[in-house]
Symmetry: C2
Subunit: 197 residues, 2 copies
DNA sequence: CCCAATCTTAGAGTCTCTCTAATATTAGAG
DNA sequence: CTCTAATATTAGAGAGACTCTAAGATTGGG
């Protein structure tokens, strides 16, 4: 039961991801065909769709990790924990999760990041997945913080945090530390950007 | 130069929108083909793509109005105006813009709203357009409020406001006034959801 | 009434994605 | 080692979105 089978599947999957990202980088996302990706990975076009439901999904491989991260954070939440702390802790956990099949400094990670920012179809997919995380997060936050937050408030809060992060990180100036910026943004999204008049 | 031509184009466009939304409602978005929409509007499939670049775009018809609204709001901004007021005024203007080809109480507006919430592909498109508005907004806000806000801060602020609104409005309970909720959400996104510890 | 600009359309073709049926590969039992 | 059952791969047919080109129809202005 060790899994020569599993191992082979894992390698095929990885080969498809690498082939796809490489071709996307060289020729552009739209100009790259699934047939081309499959050929480069040494597999038939039909097999591609055995591993990924859509062409775009290959860019988001291994994403679902975020669901587990959320579960984990809220499993360790204490009843007395302030909501703000819980929110910040969640962001920290989400930011720290390595959800990708390459290490952060891998060249293809850079390619993937650029693709997500530049190709509209991929950016749309990213926003959709982001929103899904927000939904799940809001639900958990709501049921954990009992009567302090209703559904709408919880959704607004998580929406604000994720919206602020997404918008800010896309304009990241190179000279500033990412983690520092993230903490700053979350703090402001939770406690306010501007003082009350 | 009056425009029998223009008038005819306008009617064809409207017919396509109505046909599309009606069929989407009856048969579902995916099950509806462009050929079907064109047939119902009494026009050839090729003509559909003369009016809308993609099948999905027919749902977002007349959206670009938001760009003009932003221009208008910032054209009337006074240098002394507090940032928070400017932000709230912008939201008010965006919410008040009737960007649709049907009045708000038209049945097809309800269909459109439900489609945007339920069909992933359309929701993705909506989020993408929303983000585009946010980008434009952030840029104008940044250049208007001179040194008070840098690019990243402005983006975070607009991202938070739009993110909070998007998330909250999707969970709108029927018993609450929409405009009241919008004002409340914006206020919190700008001035904070939770007090500092 | 006619010309020129503009709209519509048919048709061919590419690509994503689905489905089905056939083939190949592997795990585990004998 | 061999056979069998489960699983993976594949070819092929086909639907549907979208592109492009060239031909046909309609309209505005002279």
């Amino acid at each position: 039961m060790a899994g020569l089978r599993e191992e082979k599947k894992r390698r095929t999957r990885q080969a498809l991801i690498e082939a796809a990202l490489t071709l996307f980088d060289e020729d552009g996302y739209d100009a790259t065909t699934v047939a081309g990706i499959a050929a480069r990975a040494g597999v038939s076009p039909a097999t591609f769709f055995n591993y990924f439901v859509t062409k775009e999904e290959v860019v988001f491989a291994d994403q679902p990790v975020y669901d587990e991260v959320l579960d984990e954070v809220f499993a360790t939440a204490e009843p007395a924990e302030p909501v703000a702390d819980l929110v910040k802790r969640t962001v920290h956990a989400l930011a720290g999760a390595d959800a990708w099949s390459f290490p952060l400094d891998h060249p293809l990670t850079v390619v993937r990041t650029r693709l997500l920012a530049t190709v509209p179809a991929l950016r749309a997919g990213y926003l959709l997945r982001n929103a899904a995380v927000g939904d799940r997060w809001a639900e958990k936050l709501c049921e954990t913080c009992a009567p302090q937050l209703d559904r709408v408030e919880a959704a607004a809060l998580t929406g604000a945090v994720l919206g602020a992060l997404e918008a800010a990180l896309r304009r990241l100036p190179g000279d500033r530390s990412t983690t520092e910026l993230v903490l700053d943004i979350v703090d402001r999204a939770v406690h306010g950007f501007l003082p009350r008049a």
